[in-house]
Symmetry: C2
Subunit: 397 residues, 2 copies
């Protein structure tokens, strides 16, 4: 039969990043700078095994049936406690905290709850693919704001807020951003919050990487500035304990929880087993010490990539200088055809994520690349950057 | 701040069923006929524990990172094999099969892929709450079709198909339906498929209960009749191995998979650990033998409920006669105020699900109740039905 798709599905297609994965299939030497995955080496497999065994021995009567809708209560309490310790929530705070199967689902709930077709979402100049899909799915469009090294260009943000009255929220990954690796300064976070008050708009702070700082000084979250219930904050265990177990969380004003959790058709919840294992891990082990080890691991790889890029890239190419997270962003001179170069690199066994994947405006795909340093070995990072450098030189006038 | 919700969220609220749960909190003697949960007694806890331990010992390198988007390949292959054995798919079939975090998510993907605001979905006279939420979320409306003991009234179905050209698909749970427990006859399944061809409409066959038959003769699925790629079929492990691990699956024509899997903003996937445990269970144990035990367990409870209702209900009250699944449906005489009676029963410690929860049309809430026999003990089934009978008599003229 001939299918009659809805408008939103007509453009639904695999991302360029997923296409690159297909391209790499069958090449064991392929160097993956393209995927945003944390490294399995940083996940505590032995401990998770021990804890899963305990859960299924002792708690199977609550683990195997349906769980509670906002999530496993002890896990919710432990995450809240940790957010208080990290200064993100106040001890007497009455925000709600609920568990999701990864933080990506949180942004779908946000978009479903707030965006009618034709509404808008303000985003960074290049932004996470998940919010691009989420907006498309709800018929919302994206408005990109110019970026500087320490966050959005505030004049441009204000201009966009002023001229886009249908903008429902500002989406951002202010710490070790996906895709750029940029971290917003405290000054810009305060200015952002002030503007969000002036134009009475919400903020969705997506923070899956915030704990993975390997250098520099921590910056407080935007949520920590929130006095109005204006900021919805999302975090995740995917980058620190396991991505495959699918556990994230969303923090929002108490009055918002029912809408956020009921806006979707069916409540999609995380596996009870995964939630219970996460809770036991937080109770029994030192999560901070574990994260420190992951940061040491990523820090070494990031340094290796910075050095290799600084050595290999031709003049006129610029990279960001992340202090944590999983990504680096390399901008080519304007004349470079990033898509052509991306394809050539794929054929040479090096996968990058082209800026087109992260562009809020399809007509402005940019001329930059996201490089992920978490998955390849240091040897592959050096080798891949060398090939990247050679091809860059060829494409640079 | 004052939140500016999207249209779809304005009516988003907890279901009556969820409200009943809140009501019951703190009453350990509360009798839950209201929730559709399978019983934890039917889940193989010991085996799942053993398998989880093995997965985390041997497969942690593929279990803990992100998994593959359509799901864990060995699990997909095992489920396909089982569907072929059950006659649902053909051996040389080229339908795609992908894993979801429960079968509810499948219907969200279906609605996202096919329904523009203003489109319609054809459903049974009373239907599963999930499709009601899913339709609301996408701005689609529901069109209910009159039901008989063996499926829809075919004349009414044709009338609805003829007069609702914006209907995108027919949603049904044709085997041990939620909420009614009704199973469609083979004759009606064939007539349904013929009409779907005549009016060129798709069918979403939701089949989470189909394997839980405790009496009577199996009826082939609608999917087994599908020659056009018109039927999307959804199944689940939630009723047979574990609800809390969140693993379901969707089968669809190969050409549909990309749209169905990309229509949502973010791909919500099942926990790798849960998927790997399910796969190992299917490899190592006899799933049919396990399901047989669950059927024996539910069959006893269903018989106890049937006997108790036949003994306790006053004249004029009618119940369905399910041969499997988890639900029975009791229709009161027209004069009975079902919502008032529902509230009175709650206050007496008996939770039912009122037909209003399952009504496609808010203005026609009906005067019936869904009773779930899987969770309460046989003693509680008898006690609860006795109270239900007393209150019914009071409300019957």
């Amino acid at each position: 039969m001939e299918y009659k798709y809805a408008g939103r599905a007509r453009f639904a297609a695999p991302t360029l990043i997923r296409m690159a994965n297909d391209y790499a299939a069958g090449n064991p030497d392929f160097i993956f700078f393209s995927v945003g995955n944390p490294s399995v080496e940083t996940f505590p497999a032995k401990e998770l095994r021990e804890l899963a065994d305990e859960v299924l021995a002792e708690n199977y009567k609550s683990c195997l049936p349906y769980g509670e809708n906002p999530g496993y209560p002890p896990l919710r309490a432990l995450v809240r406690e940790r957010l208080v310790k990290r200064g993100i929530l106040k001890a007497d705070d009455d925000n709600d905290l609920f568990i999701t199967p990864g933080s990506g689902h949180g942004m779908d709930l946000m978009t479903m709850t707030f965006c009618d077709p034709g509404d808008e979402i303000i985003v960074e100049e290049f932004t996470y693919t998940g919010i691009i899909g989420s907006a498309r799915c709800m018929g919302a469009s994206l408005v990109g704001v110019k970026m500087e090294d320490d966050g959005m260009d505030m004049a441009d943000l204000e201009e966009k807020l002023r001229t886009h009255p249908r903008a429902k929220f500002i989406y951002l990954v202010p710490t070790f951003s996906n895709p750029t690796g940029i971290t917003w300064s405290m000054e810009k976070r305060k200015a952002l919050y002030a503007l969000s008050q002036k134009y009475d708009i919400m903020i969705y702070e997506d923070d899956p990487y915030g704990e993975l700082r390997y250098s520099g000084t921590p910056v407080d979250t935007v949520k920590s500035l929130d006095t109005d219930g204006r900021v919805v904050y999302a975090g995740s265990f995917s980058k620190i304990l396991s991505a495959g177990l699918r556990v994230g969380y969303v923090v929002c004003d108490k009055s918002l929880y029912t809408k956020l959790s009921c806006a979707a058709g069916n409540v999609v919840v995380a596996s009870n087993l995964a939630q219970m294992v996460m809770a036991k891990y937080m109770e029994r082990y030192d999560l901070d010490a574990h994260i420190q080890k992951a940061c040491d691991y990523y820090g070494k790889k990031a340094r290796a990539m910075k050095e290799a890029l600084d050595r290999c890239l031709p003049e006129g190419w610029v990279r960001t200088d992340p202090e944590g997270g999983l990504f680096m962003w390399v901008t080519a001179p304007e004349e470079v055809d990033a898509m052509e170069m991306w394809k050539e690199l794929l054929s040479m066994g090096v996968g990058l994520a082209p800026s087109a994947s992260f562009a809020p405006d399809r007509d402005n795909p940019g001329h930059a690349f996201r490089l992920n340093y978490s998955r390849p070995s240091i040897e592959d990072i050096e080798k891949g950057c060398e090939i990247f450098g050679q091809v860059s030189s060829k494409y640079t006038k």
